[in-house]
């Protein structure tokens, strides 16, 4: 294919009609009605500059060829075991995480803005965690209401006064971004416990390169596969004081966890042991793994188990996933947990509206990434407004995640709205409300044509003595038409996400 000049780029689908096509693939007429920002198409139907080459490459591939390659990619994902477990279904349901072959491309300039915004936000979140478990300056100065922090289910009183290695709480975080009608990135939520998704980033790139090597032509895409080594560096960095060659392990709840594939992949790529709670034993405040040659000391645990299940002595006493005595070893500073215990208070949805305040308070900076407008249901005026206009709001339970426990007012039935109104009135602390936001869309291959589907973006941040944001972000896509929920448990898929090199 000849290299395209700027002014004879192939015309992609016009926003109206949809009969002409950007490739062997047709374009869904739904694009004609679209009012949201689209990642690829401009309102006049031509592709954005950084997508033009991709569209030209796809145009050169026959439709049947594309569909056959999609099929082979799906087989590859199934055979490689890139699956997740859906809890609501019959036990042990393994499903391939749907993968869409049209990549999402971010320019260097777009990424730089995201990078700086996330570095700032994660620094503030970490400072907040240190503060609420030590001096409580932000509470004493009444910048955040004390009761919201203390009433958080994830606030961990056992962590008060505990010093964690290097003062690092959120070693790994995932900050979910969306794009409004103008294409501006906004933070939808923070994930400070153990965000997952990086394995899909790595696998998506692998299978796209195998299935569609041609689409990488003329692009300089930042590699994603250095993530595990970066993570390992962060984990080794936070070892307990005095340990020079720390023994790092990944702690998983086991094969039935929805992110088990990810746990195995990270352990494998970092070259560390993947352990379950039953492999660990704590003796005299020191954590060990049980090996074929006796007990072996463990210094850093990258744990993918929630706080509540970590140690039956402190948390759920009936849990068998955790390790008896681990909390004592942790508080004694003999073992590092990543992330720290009690980080959930920072990503409690009721505290989310206060993150910009944290940035101003701890860093003295103006937030680079804005929040989505959020209504606090504990405030009488705001709650009344939400309840009067439920059809225009998204109401989220602050204790739920993964797309569970939320009401999409615009799509809900009257009965569902009544139920949520009652819940909000009864337990206002448990809910926040946000106006229904138009997430940006990206063309997605559905039934052999390009249809607009809503996407978000989850970049991951790693924190040691500074914050780094690897250029490996997850784009989740809502595969159902008009759906605004991208979670995999709710029929979401993902796309390979390219950050272009400068």
């Amino acid at each position: 294919m000849p290299r395209l000049r700027r002014n004879d780029r192939p015309r992609a689908a016009p926003a109206t009609g949809g009969r002409t096509h950007a490739s062997g693939l047709g374009v869904d007429p739904a694009y004609a009605r679209a009012t949201q920002y689209d990642e690829l198409f401009l309102p006049d139907g031509s592709p954005r500059e950084h997508y033009a080459q991709l569209m030209a490459t796809l145009a050169a591939l026959p439709r049947d060829e594309i569909l056959a390659r999609v099929q082979s990619i799906n087989t590859m994902l199934l055979q490689r075991g890139v699956t997740f477990t859906v809890y609501a279904e019959a036990s042990g349901t393994e499903r391939v995480f749907p993968f869409d072959i049209i990549p999402r491309i971010l320019t260097t300039a777009e990424w730089d803005r995201i990078d700086r915004g996330i570095v700032q936000r994660v620094r503030a979140l970490n400072a907040f965690l240190h503060d609420v478990y030590h001096d409580e300056r932000i509470l004493r100065e009444r910048r955040i209401p004390r009761e919201i922090v203390y009433s958080s289910k994830s606030f961990c009183a056992e962590m008060i006064g505990v010093d964690v290695a290097g003062d690092v709480y959120v070693h790994v975080s995932g900050i979910d971004l969306i794009r409004d009608e103008n294409g501006t990135f906004l933070v939808l939520e923070d994930n400070c416990r153990s965000p997952s998704g990086i394995s899909y980033v790595l696998e998506n790139r692998t299978v796209l390169k195998r299935g569609f090597p041609d689409v990488f032509r003329n692009y300089e895409v930042c590699p994603v596969d250095d993530y595990p080594s970066r993570l390992l560096r962060v984990l080794r960095h936070c070892a307990p004081a005095g340990v020079s060659q720390p023994n790092v392990v990944v702690l998983t709840p086991g094969i039935h966890n929805s992110a088990y594939f990810e746990h195995t992949l990270l352990a494998r790529r970092m070259g560390v042991e993947l352990v379950e709670g039953r492999d660990l034993i704590v003796v005299d405040n020191v954590a060990y793994v049980r090996t074929t040659h006796g007990l072996e000391r463990v210094d850093v645990i990258y744990r993918r188990i929630d706080d509540d299940y970590l140690d039956p002595l402190y948390f759920h006493s009936e849990s068998t996933l955790g390790v008896t005595g681990l909390m004592n070893a942790y508080r004694a500073g003999k073992v590092t947990l990543a992330n720290a215990i009690g980080t959930g208070v920072a990503d409690d949805k009721a505290l989310y509206p206060y993150v910009p305040e944290m940035i101003r308070f701890y860093l003295g900076e103006t937030p680079l990434l804005e929040n989505v407008l959020t209504f606090d249901c504990t405030n009488d005026v705001q709650r009344r407004h939400v309840l009067d206009n439920l059809d225009k709001f998204v109401v989220k339970n602050v204790n739920a995640s993964g797309g569970y426990g939320m009401l999409m007012g615009a799509f809900a039935s009257a009965a569902e709205r009544t139920l949520f109104a009652a819940l909000v009135a009864e337990r206002p602390r448990d809910f926040i409300a946000q106006p229904t936001i138009q997430l940006s869309s990206a063309p997605t291959l559905i039934d052999g044509r390009l249809s607009p589907r809503r996407v978000d973006l989850r970049p991951f941040a790693l924190l040691s003595d500074s914050v780094e944001v690897p250029r490996a972000a997850l784009t989740r896509v809502a595969l159902r038409e008009d759906s605004l929920v991208v979670n995999s448990s709710q029929g979401g898929g993902s796309k390979d996400t390219w950050v272009l090199q400068a």
Binding site: Q79, V250, H263, T264, E273, L274, I281, V283, R290, T292
Partner: protein, 316 residues
């Protein structure tokens, strides 16, 4: 290495080997049974009874109508999920163990295990009969052999590989001993010893090794004692010993652990006794005692490397 990982590797090795052995036993027997199909002298039923015994199944195939014994054996030995010795069960257990130690396996190895699992899960007795049982069984054999090859070629040959090898060769010795136990050579010496050799992939190596026209009894001795036949008892024990000594780092010819001691005694017997001596009480009786020893040996490995009880502070 984690005890749990070692345990899963051991059982992964055992179950893959078991699936392969059962598949080959069935394939060879199914083909041989075609010669006996129209006979009503009990030989056909006797053959299938011995097949069931090889797999450790006590159920007697009902001699209701010709051909049914074969179908019943297939249903039971291949597709019966309630039976832990069947091929689908063995592959299911193997895959579950592999999943639990996914982080220790190479992607190449995992994909072979997963593809084997997915292909067997998609089969039923009916589809296997439609395809032709021999073809289906051959595919299982080929996939399990490919799996062993990928393991050899991609795993680092440290303890991960050694525990896998230990499981594999313990199971191989076990299945070979089972076959020696179930075979009834006195009724039709030539046919049955030939079937035994084929079930151990050894008919051509056997002919090649013999410098004279062999007697059926030579075939039995070959299966027990041939030093280089990869499915003989002696070879399997030696590979198992290599794996165990590699794990413990004890010098060969010595012992430091209970499994090494028991295995050493078994090896010494095969190394220094003649076939006549071994088979003096009867081949089946010798084989039965060997099966019992291998079961005890498996228990020794478990106690030594993945005990049920938490390891005490004494091991610190």
């Amino acid at each position: 290495m984690l005890s749990r990982v070692a345990e899963s590797l051991f059982w992964l090795g055992r179950n893959v080997e078991r699936a392969e052995s059962i598949a080959r036993i069935l394939e060879v027997s199914y083909t041989r049974a075609m010669d006996l199909y129209s006979r009503d002298d009990g030989r056909y039923e006797r053959l299938w009874r011995s097949v069931m015994q090889c797999g450790g199944f006590v159920a007697e195939p009902k001699p209701s109508a010709p051909g049914l014994a074969a179908h019943e054996a297939l249903a039971h030995c291949v597709f019966d999920r309630g039976n832990s010795n069947s091929i689908v069960s063995a592959i299911h257990v193997a895959r579950t163990n592999a999943l639990g130690i996914r982080a220790e396996l190479t992607t190449e190895l995992w994909v072979v295990i997963n593809v084997l699992y997915l292909s067997v899960e998609g089969q039923s007795l009916r589809s296997a009969l439609r395809e032709g049982p021999a073809r289906f069984l051959r595919r299982v054999c080929e996939s399990t052999q490919a799996l062993a090859g990928v393991a050899d070629a991609t795993l680092s040959h440290g303890d991960v590989w050694r525990f896998l090898q230990a499981g594999r060769f313990l199971e191989r010795a076990f299945m070979t001993a089972r076959m020696l136990q179930a075979i009834e050579v006195e009724h039709e010496p030539w046919h049955e010893s030939q079937r035994l050799l084929e079930m151990c992939c050894a008919s051509e190596p056997f002919v090649h090794d013999m410098r004279f026209v062999p007697e059926p009894r030579d075939a039995l001795a070959f299966i027990a004692l041939a030093p280089d036949c990869p499915r003989s008892l002696r070879f399997s024990f030696r590979e198992l010993g290599n794996a165990l000594h590699g794990i413990s780092d004890n010098r060969e010819g010595t012992f430091g652990t209970e499994p090494e001691r028991r295995l050493g005694k078994l090896c010494a017997r095969l190394d220094f006794a003649s076939a006549d001596e071994l088979f003096a009480p009867g081949v089946n009786i010798f084989a039965r005692a060997t099966v019992a020893e291998i079961v005890a040996l498996s228990g020794d490995v478990e106690t030594a490397y993945f005990p049920r009880l938490p390891i005490g502070i004494g091991n610190l």
